[in-house]
């Protein structure tokens, strides 16, 4: 029985951080109606910034979040303004050309990091790395627990931002009906830029929180793009609450897959859930609440 609880807690903690990353993606997807394949690369950059902060300046990873987030916010705004927005209104045969552009951006970001840091695995060793505490006979990793708590705080803060501030409401309004938002006086062009910035900042936060737990290398982004998709599809596009539940679900599913099926096949579990949800629950979990 304790294996069960161990697996559940592990999955839940990791799922919380996944959720934070996926919320960034779902925000972008909601407002721009595009799938951002560069999202994982943004996570990766957030990780490298944290690594640099720790390695060269001795800044604790959990403090580095205050550097990685603004940095990625700025980077995200630039990407949206100078590349993705350029494509708006351009006609091409492939309707997915904005998505393909994000692939190009992913390549650029990944290769830039590879050029600077090389392809080898890096990790950050803090005083609390590898420490844990016990609830009953279930051991809980301290860095994972801290990351989870911070992720949940950010998720809640974002929720407040989106529901209680004018900019937050404008973001939601743009996602729901862009033209109507314009009529309300919302500069939707600016909103897309802010949203991409915000989504990138959340990706960075997620990346930073994973640094004490994961290794980092330039290609780690791919894993997070895939996870974010799965979560977004699970939760329903553009839904932050959906993404939270999707994230926790994926974390738990992966964790159980790893424990009870095989460590190596845990990623397959995610993809299989993804296809099943895509086929049988096209609106994600969000559509269940609408009945």
């Amino acid at each position: 029985m304790s294996l069960f609880w161990q697996t559940l807690i592990c999955g839940l903690l990791l799922g919380g951080v996944y959720a934070l990353i996926a919320i960034g993606m779902t925000l972008i997807m909601g407002v721009m109606k595009i799938i951002n394949l560069a999202h994982g690369a943004l996570v990766m950059i957030g990780m490298y910034i944290t690594y640099v902060c720790f390695h060269y300046w001795g800044i604790d990873p959990y403090i580095a979040i205050f550097i990685s987030m603004p940095a990625l916010f700025f980077l995200g705004c630039l990407i949206q303004k100078y590349s993705i927005n350029v494509l708006i209104g351009k006609e091409s045969i492939l309707p997915e050309n904005q998505v393909l552009l994000t692939v190009g951006i992913m390549l650029v970001l990944t290769e830039t990091m590879r050029l600077i840091f090389g392809s080898d695995y890096k990790s950050v060793h803090t005083s609390y790395t590898g420490t844990s505490f016990f609830i009953g006979d279930v051991s809980v990793s301290i860095p994972m627990a801290i990351s989870f708590v911070i992720a949940m705080v950010f998720t809640y803060a974002l929720h407040i931002f989106l529901t209680k501030t004018d900019i937050g409401r404008s973001i939601r309004a743009t996602a729901q009906d862009k033209e109507a938002a314009i009529l309300m006086g919302v500069n939707t062009n600016k909103i897309t830029i802010v949203t991409f910035g915000l989504g990138s900042a959340l990706a960075a936060a997620g990346g930073t929180l994973l640094v004490p737990i994961y290794y980092l290398f330039p290609d780690i982004g791919h894993a997070f793009v895939a996870k974010s998709f799965i979560i977004t599809i699970l939760g329903g596009m553009g839904s932050t609450m959906g993404a939270l539940f999707g994230g926790l679900t994926l974390g738990i599913a992966e964790s159980f897959g790893a424990t009870y099926i095989s460590m190596e096949l845990k990623d397959v579990v995610g993809f299989v859930i993804f296809i099943i949800v895509l086929l049988f629950l096209p609106g994600g979990f969000k559509s269940l609440t609408k009945r």
Binding site: S83, L107, I275, P282
Partner: protein, 317 residues
């Protein structure tokens, strides 16, 4: 018409005598890579460009084709050249259930489902060690010491795929493919069974991807899941090859393959480790400023020069 015939003849002659003139084995290797990427691009373009079903997971078919050939040699000790039949057939067999499931989805959802399919294949082939030898991959013996035979086999594969697509696009199926891309609802209401025709587009696409994969296996003599099922290096690169050359044009993928391979090699030799970065920047610029690829732009420039917007002629190919 006559002009076209001469143009085509000249290209064929060049393609045949080129490796006889260029003796360097490095250059011949480049030519063979172009042929493989060309065939892959042509295959992807049939489904993604003409039929509008953008797939982010074509590595699945490429990889299954490659493993179809590799596993024959690995388990049964048969010449992997038999894989040139087994590989594409395996890719087609795999494509049928994939198509039936994924074609229930439209647009970006389809693209993503295909991405998941590709990744599932990669993970399964990596983990199923008893069947596939896992991440260690499969090694076979080299058949020919010269690159020349490989070149001609590759050329045959590329010609076969271009010819097949040409025939398809000049038949009823071709018109139906483009109709589905342009407006699926309108196509349905014109009596076009869209799912069936998407399958008709997917099956040859999977076949040629598998054939290219099987040939790749025979040429490289080594495959592993992380290479042949790679999302960034195969699935995404195919799309970029097609975009570079020209989406939904007959020769676009071939032109794209030439540019892609030559550019990568040039960048690699001149820039060293930065070559992928520069490549990525070029990709972004192409998508932003030439969304219909070189061949698409050529058409536009031609039209501008001719100033005969009205007389485009019925050429969907």
């Amino acid at each position: 018409m006559l002009k076209k015939f001469w143009f085509l003849s000249i290209i064929i002659v060049i393609a045949i005598i080129l490796p006889l003139i260029v003796q360097s084995s490095y250059y011949r290797h480049i030519f063979i890579l172009i042929l493989i990427w060309g065939a892959l691009g042509v295959a992807w373009n049939l489904l993604g460009g003409y039929t509008g079903q953008v797939s982010f997971g074509h590595a699945a078919f490429f990889g299954v084709g490659a493993y179809g050939a590799g596993l024959l040699a690995f388990h049964l000790h048969i010449s992997p050249w038999w894989g040139m039949i087994v590989g594409p057939v395996a890719a087609v067999i795999v494509s049928i259930p994939i198509g039936l499931i994924c074609f229930r989805l439209r647009g970006p959802y389809f693209a993503l489902a295909m991405l998941a399919v590709g990744e599932i294949c990669r993970l399964v082939f990596t983990q199923w060690v008893s069947l596939t030898n896992g991440a260690m991959g499969i090694l076979t013996l080299t058949t020919f010491s010269s690159k020349l035979p490989y070149y001609y086999i590759g050329l045959a594969i590329l010609s076969f795929s271009v010819y097949t697509v040409y025939r398809l696009m000049n038949s009823r199926a071709g018109y139906y493919f483009v109709s589905i891309r342009e407006d699926q609802d309108a196509a349905e209401s014109l009596g076009i069974p869209t799912t069936k025709y998407k399958m008709y587009s997917l099956i040859p696409s999977a076949f040629f991807s598998g054939l290219a994969g099987a040939f790749y296996m025979n040429y490289m003599n080594y495959i592993e899941p992380s290479v042949v099922f790679s999302l960034p290096d195969v699935s995404i690169m195919i799309i970029l090859v097609v975009i570079l050359g020209g989406v939904a044009t007959l020769w676009g993928p071939v032109v794209g393959a030439i540019i892609f391979v030559v550019l990568s090699e040039l960048l690699r030799s001149s820039l060293g480790p930065a070559h992928l970065l520069v490549f990525g920047v070029i990709v972004c610029l192409v998508i932003m400023y030439m969304p219909n690829g070189i061949m698409g732009e050529v058409d536009r420039i031609k039209k501008l020069l001719q100033r005969k917007g009205a007389r485009i002629g019925s050429e969907i190919t």
